[in-house]
């Protein structure tokens, strides 16, 4: 039986079919020059919370241990592998992994709490090689899944961030917009707040509502300060708000362009040209589209990019920490969440690596539990 009473797929791996499948995938990885890497299942909580934030604790299982402190059951492979890779001081490497990850799911979710994953991470020190490793990563998964009825969706976070970089606004505004790309509600609030023409008029931010010079006066009158946040910190923020309130707001045309871009979808083949026709094209954006175009060209040599879907914002809310090319593979019958998902995460690498060392990386995982379901689904 694959299904327990509650409809949760049990993650035992004794099914012959799946065992064969794991070996087949392993062979593909090894032939592609990937080396197996293993990381512990118990990870130090504070390391992870530091860069995931408290969100992690909503999704991961935490364990208590009076000796070692709070430990977290491995919620994914990417971060522990990246940390290990950085500790080993290596630059270039190609790893594959297999094992369980544990994540809390809400009770409607079809994703099991304990799931068996296989996947890989490709590290490189040269940014120039990014496009070819993007293609390599996509093709690896494509080869593994070619015997199944799957379709794939791709996205590119860079298209959006480069468009934001090209806006005629301050770095402060660009940073906050990019920081909240992953939170649509907040992003739209910020976009409205920073625009010349505002829609909502009830922004939950002191940015517009407050009388900033009144605050400054008030601040002068306060004598007792305590805690880590100093009087200077507050003064600095008021000054930033004062400046940002009056300068460089987003023009209506720019805002419309961004909104159009976020809604954009087409076939991968058509995407670069169609995006360029959206107008409002600046230097950084053009560069991002050029890279995108080269990637599509390379991919077109191996796969029919007319049937690969492209959405600018694909995966923005679910694929945390990806910041470039992203992709997902889904079964045609659409019963399950994506069987494979992956993407580029260069900024996570630079955030965690030592100064002066730049590492680029792309990785992908396969949800083996859904593969098992389909093995049997096809058999039935």
């Amino acid at each position: 039986m694959l299904k327990s009473k509650k409809g949760i797929i049990k993650p035992t791996l004794d099914s012959d079919n799946l065992g064969l499948e794991i070996r087949r995938i392993q062979t593909i990885f090894t032939k592609a020059g990937l080396k197996e890497i293993s990381v512990p299942s118990l990870l130090n909580s504070s390391d992870l919370v530091d860069f995931y934030g408290e969100d992690l604790k909503l999704r991961a299982y935490t364990t208590s241990d009076p000796v070692r402190g709070e430990q977290i059951l491995r919620p994914d492979f990417t971060v522990p592998i990246l940390l290990k890779h950085l500790r080993d001081n290596s630059l270039q490497a190609k790893y594959f992994y297999r094992g369980n990850v544990w994540r809390r799911q809400n009770f409607k979710s079809k994703i099991p709490n304990e799931q068996y994953q296989m996947g890989f991470e490709l590290f490189d020190s040269k940014k120039a090689k990014s496009i070819s490793s993007d293609v390599e990563a996509y093709l690896l998964i494509n080869r593994i899944l070619s015997k199944y009825k799957v379709n794939s969706v791709t996205g590119d976070v860079q298209v959006l961030t480069s468009a934001i970089d090209d806006l005629d606004i301050s770095d402060y505004k660009k940073t906050s917009l990019k920081r909240h790309l992953w939170r649509p509600k907040r992003f739209m609030r910020l976009l409205d707040l920073y625009s010349k023409q505002k829609i909502s008029g009830n922004n939950n931010h002191s940015f517009k509502s407050a009388n900033l010079s009144l605050w400054k006066e008030k601040l002068l009158g306060i004598e007792s300060f305590y805690g880590a946040r100093t009087k200077t910190d507050i003064k600095e923020r008021i000054e930033i708000l004062e400046q940002e309130l009056s300068q460089n707001l987003i023009a209506r045309s720019e805002k419309n362009f961004l909104l159009k871009l976020m809604r954009f979808q087409s076939s991968l083949k058509e995407a670069p040209k169609s995006i360029l026709s959206l107008s409002m094209v600046g230097g950084t954006f053009r560069k991002a589209i050029e890279n995108f175009e080269r990637r599509v060209e390379l991919l077109s040599e191996h796969v029919d990019t007319k049937i690969v879907k492209f959405q600018v914002i694909y995966g923005l809310t679910t694929l945390e920490y990806y910041d470039g090319f992203v992709f997902g593979f889904q079964f045609d019958h659409g019963k399950y969440p994506p069987i494979a998902q992956g993407g580029r995460y260069d900024s996570l690498c630079s955030r965690l690596s030592k100064k002066g060392k730049s590492i680029c990386a792309i990785g992908s995982m396969l949800r083996m539990d859904f593969l098992r379901k389909t093995l049997n689904y096809d058999k039935d």
């Binding site: 408290e54 407050a210 601040l219 007792s224 805690g227 880590a228």
Partner: protein, 231 residues
């Protein structure tokens, strides 16, 4: 026998006793040495169990208690998906308390959650750490702040005297129960416009499974009639 859990001490205990006496129910100790067990005078079918109000939610969930009175804040905090296993029978008009965010009064630039998020981000940049939030209500706080797109915060567990955590240097912000706002003022703290996490009060809760099975039992009906219908 119906196992009925009640707070064993504090203001909530007194309020519960008042609530009972208004309904003609008198609590008497079950035995000389057994301070944590009691019964209603003249009612042998209800076993009163006195325990910490924060332990009541889990005991109802586990089925060690069939019914209980406690604060909604505790139910929300202790059992994340409580509606699956616990039924709220009646909301009571006492035990009012709001779970709120408290920041230092001199943070005059922080009036909304979006401000808090931005300050947390500046904290990360300047001090290379998250904004620390001390609270006894870790689960409610985490869920609320994430739902409202606040980032770069870290929750610090605080089992009491949370209002002192900022002065003590343990945290930058607190989340705590406040019924009048007096404690906040005394500690030179203020709350923010959209900073109410939960409006709490006492309620009568019952284990869902138990209720389904026993709702037509004479004893339970008699007890509920007295508690719920007469008001």
């Amino acid at each position: 026998m119906i196992r009925f859990g009640l707070p064993s001490k504090g203001r909530l205990k007194k309020q519960v006793e008042n609530f009972f006496s208004e309904r003609g129910l008198e609590l008497v100790n079950a035995g000389m040495t057994r301070e944590y067990l009691a019964e209603f005078k003249g009612e042998k079918k209800v076993q009163i169990i006195l325990l910490a109000s924060s332990d009541i939610p889990l005991e109802i969930k586990k089925g060690n208690l069939d019914i209980g009175i406690t604060g909604r804040d505790l139910i929300f905090e202790k059992i994340l998906d409580w509606r699956k296993c616990i039924l709220e029978l009646k909301q009571l008009d006492f035990g009012e308390a709001n779970l709120i965010i408290g920041v230092p009064q001199f943070w005059i630039d922080v009036n909304y959650l979006d401000d808090l998020d931005e300050v947390a981000f500046f904290f990360r940049k300047k001090y290379s750490r998250c904004l620390r939030i001390a609270t006894k209500y870790q689960n409610i706080t985490r869920e609320f702040l994430i739902d409202n797109q606040v980032t770069n915060f870290e929750i610090i567990e605080s089992q009491g005297a949370t209002e002192g955590a900022i002065v003590n240097g343990i945290a930058d912000v607190i989340v705590d129960i406040s019924s009048t706002g007096e404690t906040l003022k005394q500690n030179k703290l203020k709350t923010i416009e959209d900073g109410t996490l939960l409006k709490s009060f006492a309620s009568i809760f019952v284990n869902k499974k138990y209720y389904k099975k026993h709702k037509n039992d004479v004893e339970l009906k008699r007890l509920l009639d007295q508690l719920v219908l007469v008001s």
